[in-house]
Symmetry: C2
Subunit: 346 residues, 2 copies
């Protein structure tokens, strides 16, 4: 049945392209559906508050390698990446559902470990695990998580709200999760050749933690609430800074200047990148999985953030015609920003 018809490989479109292709003419039919596909989460209206809903699917061999990812960390991360999408809407997560497909190589104790990590992540932000589905798989482990959250009407931060002259801000530091993955993969290759080799992970605890046990930035959303800040646009960094900033510019119909020398990098990220002869900036721009928040604010909010070490000002929003640019340290030359984030359908 599949073979008879025209068959275009999915790699032609990639993940974003395929979703856009399949959903481009889907229009909301219910008044309760404020916004559908296209942001970190959909926005729903169920009364006093808006509700946001987001979902992620993690597949063994594609998103994680159980050779070096402990199941508890995997459970923790699978929840955190969804909560991160809820926070990226300036919303508070309240519930998650979890569906698992499990092959018979897993024992009950193994799945308990996975659940322990999930529950730790839920507990950290007082999120309720309210349901799910558990079934078998012929090969590996598949984890599907849906997170629900709420936000007051008028306080939601979409990707589409950035305005010319807004400041571009990022939390924490970038590229660490990617370098942590490189380290784990290198040591795994060594182990495959010689099973007696102990992995050399000393001195890299920070980047390992960034990869294995990322923390969604719920603290930032609390801070915004305390300070009466509503970011004009916001997105979480799952695919790399370039890709996320381009999403904001595309949805907001704006351009941007991103300053190379402002991008925050941790010392371990820089050190290991140099060890592997990778430009550390590239790990931030294209690495992904940092789960930090990238957002824009009106200049009037600058004072509220400027002395807070959680935030780094990395650029500003410009007119669309000026394009999305990376301003390099090389005599201040601008080059067009391109997305080379991680693409699971490449």
């Amino acid at each position: 049945m599949i073979e008879k018809k025209k068959a275009t490989p999915i790699s032609k479109l990639g993940e974003f392209g395929l979703i856009e292709h399949l959903t481009k003419d889907i229009k909301p039919k219910n008044k309760e559906t404020i916004e559908g596909i296209g942001d970190d989460a959909a926005i729903l209206d169920y009364g006093d508050n808006l509700q946001v809903v987001t979902t992620d699917l993690l597949v063994e061999g594609i998103h994680f390698n159980l050779m070096y990812v402990p199941l508890k960390h995997l459970g923790y991360k699978s929840i955190m990446v969804n909560l991160s999408d809820v926070f990226a809407m300036n919303a508070r997560p309240l519930q998650v559902t979890v569906s698992l497909a499990i092959s018979n190589k897993f024992s009950i104790e193994a799945i308990e470990e996975l659940y322990r990590g999930m529950r730790e992540a839920c507990d950290k932000f007082n999120v309720d695990l309210v349901g799910g589905d558990t079934t078998s798989s012929l090969t590996g482990l598949v984890i599907s998580v849906t997170a629900l959250g709420k936000v007051k009407k008028g306080e939601v931060s979409r990707r589409s709200g950035s305005k010319v002259n807004d400041l571009i801000v990022v939390t924490g530091d970038l590229g660490g999760a990617y370098m942590g993955l490189q380290l784990l993969e290198r040591e795994n290759e060594v182990f495959k050749v010689d099973h007696n080799m102990k992995p050399q992970l000393e001195g890299y605890d920070y980047i390992l933690k960034r990869q294995l046990r990322p923390e969604a930035r719920g603290d930032i959303i609390e801070f915004f609430k305390e300070q009466n800040i509503i970011p004009t646009s916001m997105i979480d960094i799952s695919d790399g800074l370039s890709s996320e900033l381009l999403h904001i510019c595309k949805e907001s119909k704006t351009g941007c200047n991103l300053y190379e020398d402002k991008v925050p990098l941790d010392s371990q990220t820089k050190k290991f990148a140099e060890e592997l002869n990778i430009n550390p900036l590239v790990t931030a721009l294209n690495g992904g999985e940092d789960y930090e928040l990238l957002f824009t604010i009106n200049m009037n909010d600058y004072e509220k953030l400027k002395n807070n070490p959680d935030f780094t000002f990395i650029g500003n929003i410009t007119e669309k015609e000026k394009g999305a640019n990376l301003v390099t340290t090389l005599d201040g030359r601008s080059i067009p920003l391109t997305a080379q984030g991680w693409n699971p359908l490449k």
Copy 2:
């Protein structure tokens, strides 16, 4: 890491057992979470209405065989089974999210077919497809659907609400989906032996449709609203009548009498069951995937349903001490009802 520790095979617990084991001490922390795990859907309070959320994971090779399931029907069914869970709470579905993991054997056109079926199912009940995730898989196709719906406070039907002397009612007829699957599998075996054999499906269009393209009973929920009926308990039939009725009795802390001769069976179901030397009643009790609604009502509502061909009265709720019984046609003898529904983790 997995091997080092105690390793109990998951088959020891089965699907329901595993979920219960993993979630038994999870208690809601948010006031917005009215009910978590344990019903067709979780119940959430977001203001004027309650909201329900349910999720299902479908895995190629476990839940469907693409040798004989057209992708469009698969898409349709994957949405319908989730909407059915929403209806089983006496709620109206409003939104779904869809996550897909796709191996490279699928083309864009194939995924378009899948989506076409999904959108047809959404359109039938005016449901919005509001988001999702698309990624790759190393082997087959994985579909994860989450459905959201709403219901007025006080109108939700839980599994736990049946009372002694309530009448047990089922919609439509049962066992057809199971017999449709038997037919498809038989013809698929023939085809594997001789690729020139044409499948013999004539005269069995009804049971094939029951298996390939089930319809969730949204019409029944509308009828309840018009007639001011709120079932005291309700569940949809995904695992077979026995299993579902035992869920209601367990959650409601009641017993039941189910009358063998009242169970509604279609003529094609009976005919093909007899052809395969299966007792047709067994297809209804243990077959599953009919996606009809099983519910209980107070006797006062009897008049509103009695002449409607959509409904069959199949039994009554009793005290817990009397147990859950099947009253057979064999001199009216009662035998204990046992769940032998389809278990994907067996």
